[in-house]
């Protein structure tokens, strides 16, 4: 299926949504990424990625209950879908597989 390809940032966001379960929303995801990786993203970029992932079917969303924060506005809470979970697994698996194929010598050289 076209569009199931997972970009680097998409993967990162998808993972973060998983980490934050069940409280993942825009600002939360942004903060978590910054905390975990040190990458500071603009909120609009995070939104764009989240909506794209939802369109691809890796995420689903629902509106939270309104809180006092944010001037009483609700958050959109993102959750991983089965497809999202599988995409993460596949990506992870592929990465490990590829990593394992690297000749030991190359790694040593790199570490040296």
């Amino acid at each position: 299926m076209k569009g199931t390809y997972l970009g680097e940032l998409e993967e990162l966001v998808l993972l973060t949504v998983g980490i934050l379960y069940p409280e993942a929303y825009g600002v939360g995801v942004m903060d978590e990424i910054e905390k975990q990786t040190g990458r500071s993203l603009n909120i609009s970029a995070v939104h764009a990625v989240l909506t794209r992932l939802e369109e691809k079917g890796f995420l689903k969303s629902k509106m939270s209950e309104p809180t006092d924060e944010r001037g009483g506005r609700r958050k959109r809470i993102f959750l991983l879908t089965a497809a999202g979970k599988r995409a993460l697994e596949e990506a992870n698996e592929m990465r490990t597989q590829l990593f394992n194929q690297i000749p030991r010598i190359a790694l040593q050289f790199r570490l040296a």
Partner: protein, 866 residues
């Protein structure tokens, strides 16, 4: 919330953001804002704005319409609309041609008028702070009314008016010493060039770009600033600083500057500027007489000052001296930028001038445009029946009314744009002809400055005006009926409106035709009016001092030839007498009577040469005139002085005693816009004359001119002969009127063309619509004449109504225009009748030709279809 983010950014977000996304996006940016605002409000504000801007992405922008409506104006739809528009356009070439041609013609007319109006209104506005420059006008009270002159006393003292920072007299004229004969190389013939005399302040006050030489060129005696053109004509170069020019035979002036040619939109036109001192020396004025002379004067204020305030200050001492006050002179500060268009004064008040023509042509432009738009509407609605089925289909397949309106509006926009492009090209091509006709040098500046914005607005406005009504009508068709072809009931309102529009259009055309007819008659009247003297076969020569000294010999030499009829010398041209005096007194003149007389000084043979009619007494006669104080007066002058038998009466002009020896019939001394004034003709010694008039036999112009030229060369070898034909001088006096009448003729033709297009379009449509009716009538035995009269009847009624509407309007406005002339024709009612009859005939012809084919065609053919 303690802190609030910038409101405008918040509103902007709310405005553009998709509604289903707004809540979360707003929530997130608010959360971020609150977080930062606790530490740094400014940074938070900045981040907020930045975030709002970053969210401004295609995905997040909400689309105005609901998704259903949205699909109506999709790209596919637009494509289809264009395709249908082009097919429609091509399927009826004649019809489309009429629509586009009508619009193009009216656009061209409007563009040309716009260019002309822009040119006329741009006069003298290119100077810095042009609103602060004023001309000083003098009003002289005489006999209870005011005469106005574009002049102020040379010695006017404005030191008491702190607002005035700069002041300069500008001495202009159309003969010596403003027209001088220069030569760059002593071997060449001299060339006559016109210039002005002024003070250095002129270059500070007005923007005349100095190309070479000093910034302040005429600040000392015998210096001259010349134009680029003059430099090129004399020296073929503009690097001429320091060269000297001979002024007449006695003086020399050093060129201190070369300035860029004076722009065409300057009311002051000149090729050289010299200091007033040169003028004074040439004319031999004493300081005192110079100070008392009146010349055109310009003043400039340091800040924006109201003209009335300035006028009031000019009318107090020391600007207005006691002696001027005694002579009943008052000054007025007249805005320099108004001079070009509003220079006509009546009884001391500005009463417009060329501005009237500007307004007239703006009105014509609007009318011509309106007519073209009406045409377009008429032609489009006439076609409605053809398009009805298309609209029916569109509607049944789900088109909304707004979609159809959009379709027709865009169709009209396309056609209007097409016509617009054609018109721009046509304007470009026609401009040289237009220029040579009106004697101007306009250029197409349609795409500079803010004009494109106006043009775009104009395009959209015209497209809307032309397209909206047809769009609304056609989009209102009910699909079921439209598909069955039942339109008659719905379309009756349309038909009615079409007739109303045609009435409007024809009344405008009839109005323009009649009005221009009136203008033409009046101008014809002026040009052929008996002025009281001849102007044919006469030439005016500019004499030099040397020639005047040999005047008698010159005259005798000329008269040896049969081609020369008579010769005289005067100090003024009867066509436009400059000499005015209120200083004439006679026996029995009451103390407070002030009458303006015009004066003309002349020599022997004056009456014979000009062809004045002698009513009583005798003319100047070398044998009888012993004292040199003889004068002739006109009938009007005798009336003013209430003399029943003026011959032999004594009058005083200024301080000299004169005796009346002859009475002449009245003659015109000014533009025919003004009344005849009383005239006194006194005898002047030849040396003080400014012009020699040579009357020659008719049909021998060339021969006479050769003789004049040869004799002149013999007596005055140093100078080139400068001469003007009297009848040409006369024609030039009415240049504005003649130009205007040419333009009126052109736009009359244009409006007629558009009206004809309208009638042709409608007549064609009518014939097509009534084809079956005609067929049936023919079958039942109607003759061709019957059918033609049926077809024309409708139009005849329309013309009748249009005439009834137009005539009172034209009558009123033409009468107002005519009342601007002191000598005017009576309202030429024949024009009204001929125009009416002509229109009737023309339209009958058009409709007849269209109908004739239909009436003659075989009825079987027309009835067999379907």
């Amino acid at each position: 919330m303690k802190h609030a983010p910038p409101k405008w950014a918040d509103r902007f977000l709310a405005w553009y953001c998709r509604h289903d996304l707004l809540e979360e996006i707003q929530g997130d940016v608010y959360e971020l804002y609150d977080r930062t605002a606790k530490q740094n409000k400014r940074k938070a504000d900045f981040t907020f704005v930045w975030n709002v801007l970053r969210f401004f992405r295609w995905k997040n922008i909400h689309k105005k319409k609901s998704s259903y409506n949205n699909s109506l104006i999709s790209s596919g739809m637009v494509k289809n609309i264009f395709k249908v528009a082009i097919r429609n356009f091509l399927s009826q070439p004649g019809h489309s041609f009429l629509s586009v041609f009508g619009l193009t013609v009216s656009f061209v007319a409007a563009f040309l008028i716009m260019l002309w109006v822009m040119h006329e209104t741009s006069f003298d506005r290119y100077h810095d702070d042009s609103q602060r420059i004023f001309k000083v006008m003098s009003h002289v009270e005489s006999n209870g009314s005011f005469e106005t002159y574009d002049a102020a006393s040379f010695g006017i003292d404005v030191s008491g008016i702190p607002e005035i920072t700069k002041q300069a007299p500008v001495i202009t004229g159309d003969r010596w010493p403003n027209v001088l004969c220069f030569r760059g190389d002593p071997k060449n013939d001299c060339i006559y060039i016109t210039g002005i005399y002024s003070k250095p302040a002129l270059f500070e006050m007005l923007n005349f770009t100095i190309l070479r030489g000093e910034k302040n060129p005429i600040d000392r005696e015998f210096t001259v600033a010349i134009s680029e053109d003059m430099a090129n004509r004399l020296f073929n170069s503009i690097d001429v600083i320091g060269k000297t020019l001979k002024i007449d035979l006695w003086y020399e002036a050093t060129i201190t500057a070369v300035f860029k040619d004076v722009p065409t939109n300057s009311s002051l036109q000149f090729d050289f500027v010299m200091p007033v001192g040169v003028f004074q020396k040439l004319r031999g004025f004493s300081d005192e007489s110079l100070a008392n002379s009146f010349f055109s004067a310009l003043i400039k204020t340091g800040s924006d000052v109201n003209a009335e305030v300035l006028t009031a200050k000019l009318n107090t001492a020391p600007a207005l001296t006691e002696s001027l006050k005694r002579d009943k002179v008052s000054y007025q500060a007249f805005p320099f930028t108004d001079w070009r268009l509003k220079s006509k004064f009546e009884n001391g008040k500005s009463v417009g001038g060329k501005i009237q023509y500007v307004t007239l042509f703006i009105i014509i432009a609007i009318l011509v445009l309106a007519m073209a738009v009406i045409n377009f509407v008429n032609l489009s609605t006439a076609r409605a029946t053809n398009r009805a089925k298309e609209i029916g289909i569109r509607k049944t397949t789900g088109a909304l009314r707004s979609g159809i309106v959009f379709q027709f509006l865009s169709e009209s926009l396309v056609i209007v744009f097409f016509a617009f492009v054609l018109a721009v090209i046509a304007t470009q091509l026609l401009l040289p002809y237009f220029n040579s006709m009106i004697g101007e040098t306009l250029s197409v500046q349609l795409f500079s400055g803010v004009i494109p914005v106006y043009l775009l607005a104009f395009l959209i406005l015209v497209a809307l005006a032309a397209g909206l009504y047809p769009a609304l009508v056609m989009s209102s068709f009910q699909p079921a009926r439209a598909l069955k072809g039942e339109l008659s009931t719905r379309a009756s309102g349309v038909k009615y409106l079409r007739k109303v529009l045609l009435v409007v259009q024809l009344s405008v055309s009839i109005g323009i035709v009649i009005f221009s007819g009136v203008i033409f008659n009046q101008l014809d009247f002026i040009i052929h009016k008996d002025l009281g003297y001849d102007r044919e076969n006469m030439v005016r020569l500019e004499p030099t001092y040397k020639l005047l000294k040999q005047y008698d010999a010159f005259k005798t030499e000329l008269l040896k030839n049969h081609a020369i009829a008579s010769v005289t010398a005067t100090n003024g041209n009867p066509l436009s007498l400059q000499g005015h005096t209120t200083g004439v007194s006679w026996q029995g003149k009451s103390e407070d009577t002030r009458v303006t007389f015009q004066t003309l000084g002349g020599n022997y043979d004056l009456v014979e040469t000009f062809g004045f009619k002698l009513l009583d007494g005798r003319v100047f006669d070398p044998k009888k005139d012993t004292l040199g104080n003889e004068v002739m007066i006109t009938k009007e002058a005798a009336r003013v002085m209430s003399m029943t038998n003026p011959i032999g009466e004594k009058i005083t002009i200024g301080s000299s005693q004169c005796v009346i020896i002859g009475v002449l019939d009245d003659f015109h001394t000014e533009s025919l816009r003004n009344e005849k004034l009383p005239v006194v003709i006194y005898r002047q010694s030849v040396l003080q004359c400014s012009a020699i008039y040579v009357k020659y036999q008719s049909e021998s112009t060339q021969q006479a001119m050769e003789i004049v030229r040869a004799t002149y060369k013999k007596m005055e070898p140093d100078f080139t002969l400068n001469y003007w034909f009297q009848d040409e001088t006369f024609d030039n006096m009415y240049k504005t009127e003649t130009t205007a009448s040419y333009m009126v003729v052109i736009f009359t033709i244009i409006s007629l063309v558009i009206a004809v297009i309208g009638v042709v379009g409608l007549a064609t449509y009518n014939v097509i619509r009534k084809q079956k009716e005609i067929g049936i009538k023919r079958v039942f035995g109607a003759t061709v004449t019957n059918i033609l009269s049926m077809l024309t009847k409708e139009f005849v009624i329309i013309i009748l109504v249009a005439s009834v509407v137009a005539i009172p309007f034209v009558w009123y406005s033409a009468d107002r225009w005519l009342s601007g002339f002191a000598y005017r024709i009576n309202m030429p009612w024949m024009i009204y009748i001929t125009t009416f009859a002509g229109t009737l005939l023309l339209i009958a012809l058009i409709v007849g030709l269209q109908g004739f084919k239909a009436a003659n065609s075989n009825p079987v053919k027309t009835l067999r279809s379907e």
